[in-house]
Symmetry: D2
Subunit: 297 residues, 4 copies
């Protein structure tokens, strides 16, 4: 039975017993007790590991933040710092900053799919300023050249996000691409409280609106870092899970009558407040990661 | 097991065998083959009927429109006419028009809950014009005095929609209130393809964001007509249904582990396009119903 | 020649020479040098003073903040504190907090007129929470009961904002009303850098969309505090001023050919960024003023 | 004195006396009395003509539609037909349709600058559908391959619209680009009632937010057709005009004290309703022009 999840953490769990000993997949975990955050780092090191876990080779850091939904600005500031730190690890930001194109995937008009466009709305955009005034004007502090785009979804543009982004990358030559997207989880308990940061880019997958071709170093020619937060669960998955839990999954054929369900998704009733809140947290994390030198000096 | 549905049609089906012979509930059906519309009129005539069916006394007209999602403007115009006709039956519009406050319930920022506010955006508002120029200026044709408000949701206003609307009704004294709201269905097959028009107002219920106190003739002092379209299914309901279909509902206790699911809802992946499309259709229907005399003359 | 301004500061300047000695109008000024803010307090003490200055009796505090447009969050936090202080002076907030209805006037869909609705979007709404859990649950700290509404503009609702607000006030009985609105200034040099706080409410006036009836203690029955920021200048006013400065205002009749201009307004090219930025600053100020006891304890 | 206008019609008027005999500029006019539309076609045929009139060589068709602001859907449908006809003249649409990238310039969050993004919202997008199902599936009728993008403004993206569009054009290889933008007029009497269609693309110019590099056949490699509607007048221009009309323009130096005014623009108080209304009219015109064969068969 197909399991739809964008989280490496869940993909690993899906393997079931013995997940800890999969060859080619290294897992390490630790907690940040004062913030009630659990950090899991999944490294998919070999092709074989990638095949078993169903996720491309690379590093996936997952932050589980049970209180991500709390509207406490001081707390969210702390979370931003943690995310920024992981971003800086994955992005090869030099002393002189770097040139990054931030891509907000998703549909601005669908609440559960609007995370990417909303993160982009709050970013500190600097590319045009540095181009005009030169970096010399900012001597003593180092700024990254940040540009951003929300390419829209295929139903509205007629183009794959990949085509749009590849065109812009060829034209503007950033050092790296940073993609933000709303993800699909397998379990409702991960919705809106989990942040995944990976250096593998974005792969055709579950997502909210299925609006994703590959956005990877292979397709774009520069490193692609991805940040995502699961905001939906596929409706078919939730029902399959329910049947499985009830011990009946073998005897009936859920695939038949749940296939229609894959046109639907499950989301939380407070999704708009969460997206509003968390999009700021991610923006601040990105701003901090890319302009960090500036803030330190 | 609690079944969450705002549709009288589904409430009736829930009774199961013998639903057709419930005393105090009259059901009649007919089709409009050229539009592929099936019309069901449920009359809840007695208190006993209301108790059995779980819906207040009154009339519920349901239009099942399988092609409601098709972006064909000519077809939607035809649907508008049908809705307008049913609205005119329920609203006591006299020769001189009437004074109607249209209320768009729901959260503009949550796609599946934004139907009400979006319908209100497209209405032909006339109250302030008629107040300024007088109806004499429109001699020979009769116009209703239309006002409208989208009161927002309690998490954003701190007030029940009922409080806001009652205050406005007392102040502006409309002849009737027309409420638009996104509904919850029991079955995904009814999502975005069913229109319910009733003369019973809105009752505390399932809805998308549970943002509803009673908006009824009893609470507001004037007749309350309601139009709704189901855009969500409660996630707990969908799982309960799945279990039931698998024949396992009796042996396990779904209530326990599905209760958490009631914080989630299921919606279609193309919800934004549907709400965009259908909100126009409803606005046009209301405009036609309330300004009908004008259009005829 | 009619001068259109919502700022008491400008109304006073309009009197020209001798403005400092107008009987019934007391003016005091001071600076906050570390924030580069100039504070002017205009007290209109008598009916005669009100007549001369063209503004109702009461207190008008104007903060001139030349750097209000700078996207520096630390600086805006400081400005929020200053605004909160003046709000607390005008609002009779007792030890136990108070009940306040915040009203965001204006049209959400017109950038220059969207300040009110956007401020309301970011407020900490507490009325429904305190109603459910009781104030005892928050013992030791005092919280105001905050509710909020953006009533929309008459072209969209068919109702005066005054009718809507009066209805809600009668229904929900707040201790005070706090109105936020985009204002019209006389001079472009005041746009987006001036904040006016007054205890006189809102009077029919220039505004962006002329969408204002009186929202005053007289019309609503409770004290009405108003906060506004000028975001537009009337296009006729700007031309009249130009002619006057050129020394030609007497010889020609500007009224004739500038009257058409009063259907237009002048606004800054960066208006969306300013409204986005400043709406947060005002929201934070209101949150701080109304929840101050909580923050202190 | 610099005159800021995007309208070839006004550029020509600016020349003053003898405008009709400028060598290299051909002008023809006619009326559509039943729609109260005046059509002016300005052909700039030579480099010399381009220099005198201050607009690049090419064809500019201007429709003056005094009633463009009337919310009469039947009337707007007629206007759509007229625009579609002119579009088909300029776009080399063959029997098999053509591949067109529609670009909506401007800032979605600034009412007066949101025309482009809003037009794009309502387009019939077909590129991805034809790519998936093939044109054979639509045998007997010919459909253009339509894609669309609203690239955002430089303050938000850090990139020139030109860079973004050039990248997408190289990647997706459309036959032509169709650009929609809000324009700047010289005179308020042209605001929101004039439509300009040209085959010269978009040139760095006045616009609302000054967000424009060249989008031309030269820069993009394919024909660029532009449609625009003036929604703003530069505030400096309006004042200069006023002074000129008062006969004082020579004696004083308006440039000095109006230069600050160029950071401001003038727009109509009903701008949101107009943009809402007219964006549909333009979308329908584009849909009709590009899918015309389909509609005819």
């Amino acid at each position: 039975m197909m399991v739809r999840t964008d989280l490496a953490l869940e993909a690993r769990e899906n393997i079931g017993e013995g997940a800890d000993q999969v060859r080619g997949v290294t897992v390490s975990e630790y907690s940040i007790p004062e913030l009630d955050i659990r950090v899991t780092r999944v490294n998919v090191d070999t092709k074989n590991g990638a095949k078993i876990i169903g996720k491309p080779m690379g590093t996936y850091v997952t932050l589980e933040v049970p209180n991500l939904r709390e509207p406490d600005s001081g707390y969210h500031e702390e979370i931003s710092h943690v995310i920024a730190e992981h971003l800086r690890e994955m992005l090869p930001i030099g002393k002189g900053g770097m040139s990054v194109l931030v891509v907000g995937l998703g549909n601005r008009d669908v609440t559960a799919d609007s995370l990417g466009p909303k993160v982009v709305d709050h970013l500190r955009i600097t590319r045009h300023i540095l181009d005009r005034f030169g970096t010399a004007a900012y001597a003593g502090r180092t700024m990254s050249r940040v540009s951003a785009i929300a390419p829209g979804v295929m139903a509205r543009t007629g183009m794959e996000a990949e085509e749009v982004i590849r065109g812009i990358v060829v034209q503007t030559e950033p050092d790296a691409v940073l993609v933000i997207d709303a993800l699909a989880a397998r379990s409702t308990k991960r919705l809106n409280r989990t942040i995944q940061i990976s250096n593998t880019g974005i792969h055709p997958g579950s997502g909210v609106g299925n609006h994703r071709n590959a956005l990877t170093e292979e397709s774009l020619g520069v490193p692609v870092i991805a940040i995502g937060i699961p905001t939906v669960v596929d409706a078919g998955t939730i029902v399959s899970d329910a049947l499985e839990r009830s011990g009946r999954s073998i005897e009936i054929d859920p695939a038949t009558w749940t296939s229609e369900l894959h046109n639907f998704y499950v989301t939380g009733k407070d999704i708009d407040e969460i997206v509003h809140l968390v999009s700021y947290t991610l923006s601040e994390a990105i701003n901090e990661a890319l302009q960090s030198e500036w803030l330190q000096s």
